[in-house]
Subunit: 215 residues, 2 copies
């Protein structure tokens, strides 16, 4: 009555790559990615730092696993929907996951990303445009633009100062307003920026622009 062998026995939970990656994701979510060291992550799992290296090549490899985990968690839309609806759905979902795990953008910046989860995701996005009748060239444009737009907003919302930081620079607001009058005029919008809505606003412009090439 033995299973595959890869399955953890019930009497004793041993470490494996997935458990390490998931713990890393959880740690980064709560403490931030910069705070995560191999020793701390090990401690979280009740294990010494070096033990992690039995399941992970590198810290970079662990990061790749984390990136892949997030891409794998992006819900994909029904392929039967119209391409515009699919694009909106996938964009929204991606932004949400990037928001949930804002460190991915940082990790993506630090190292490339060609794990299976990410390629799978990319393949699905690309298929939307190819299936809709875009040629390879325009599909590539679409991919690049969507990727940039999405990464850009995830990026912006990840670095955006929180209300605490805004409060801290409140005292010097008058001088700032004098030196940078144009910024001052849109300051209220900046302070209360809802990046999700902002993202969707831009997404519509992109979709419109792409649609005009479909004929």
């Amino acid at each position: 009555m033995s299973y595959d062998g890869n399955v953890t026995t019930e009497t004793r939970t041993t470490l494996n790559r997935d458990r390490v990656v998931e713990a890393a994701v959880a740690y980064a979510d709560t403490h931030g990615i910069d705070d995560m060291s191999m020793r701390k992550l090990g401690a979280e799992l009740g294990v010494e730092a070096m033990s992690l290296y039995n399941h992970v090549d590198d810290k970079a490899d662990l990061f790749n696993g984390m990136i892949d985990y997030v891409f794998g968690s992006i819900q994909l839309p029904d392929p039967g929907l119209e391409w515009k609806a699919q694009t909106r759905a996938i964009g929204k979902e991606a932004m949400e996951q990037f928001g949930n795990h804002s460190w991915v953008v940082f990790l993506l910046m630090q190292q490339g990303n060609t794990g299976p989860g990410s390629l799978q995701f990319m393949d699905r996005v690309v298929s939307i445009f190819l299936d809709a009748g875009f040629n390879e060239n325009d599909t590539h444009h679409a991919w690049q633009m969507l990727a940039s737009h999405t990464m850009g907003y995830a990026f912006q919302s990840a670095v955006a100062p929180d209300s605490h930081e805004y409060a801290k620079l409140e005292p010097q607001l008058p001088q700032l307003a004098a030196a940078f009058p144009n910024v001052a005029r849109i300051a209220p919008n900046l302070f209360n920026c809802a990046y999700d809505e902002e993202y969707l606003f831009g997404l519509e412009i992109i979709i419109d622009g792409l649609e005009s090439r479909l004929n």
Copy 2:
């Protein structure tokens, strides 16, 4: 016959913040930002690591100086030009500088950025739209979209695998093509992507989308 006192004497070049920041920029340009440690940067200036701290609070402070340096080096367009021409010019210039110093995107991701150089730059960009007659709300949209688009492409082009990396994964191309057929179809475009042109393509779409709100 003494100057201000802040001016370096001619017989002896002493360190100052600008020299430190410029050396850091040069170092990051040639060796990459990850390779730059305070010790190595000190060595480059013929000085011990700790000496740098006389001119810089922190490594983060040094990073801020570097970011500000790059933003300050972005050439600004003639304010007399039409808003669309100004937007194109500033976008192109920004992309070029981000390309010259591809680590800025990484640094911006790591820490916010509210130095005088960056605020100055932002103020100028915002002024383009306000002067063109956009209201505060749409100006804010424009800023956010342009910033995302620009950061996104700088980001993409910074992480894009170089030809060496592509060559390395050439052998496994057949399996990849089988598993990710849609990606495979646009692979040639991905491999030869000219991010600058791609950026400009998207910029026109954005400009068109913004223009439709100007009435």
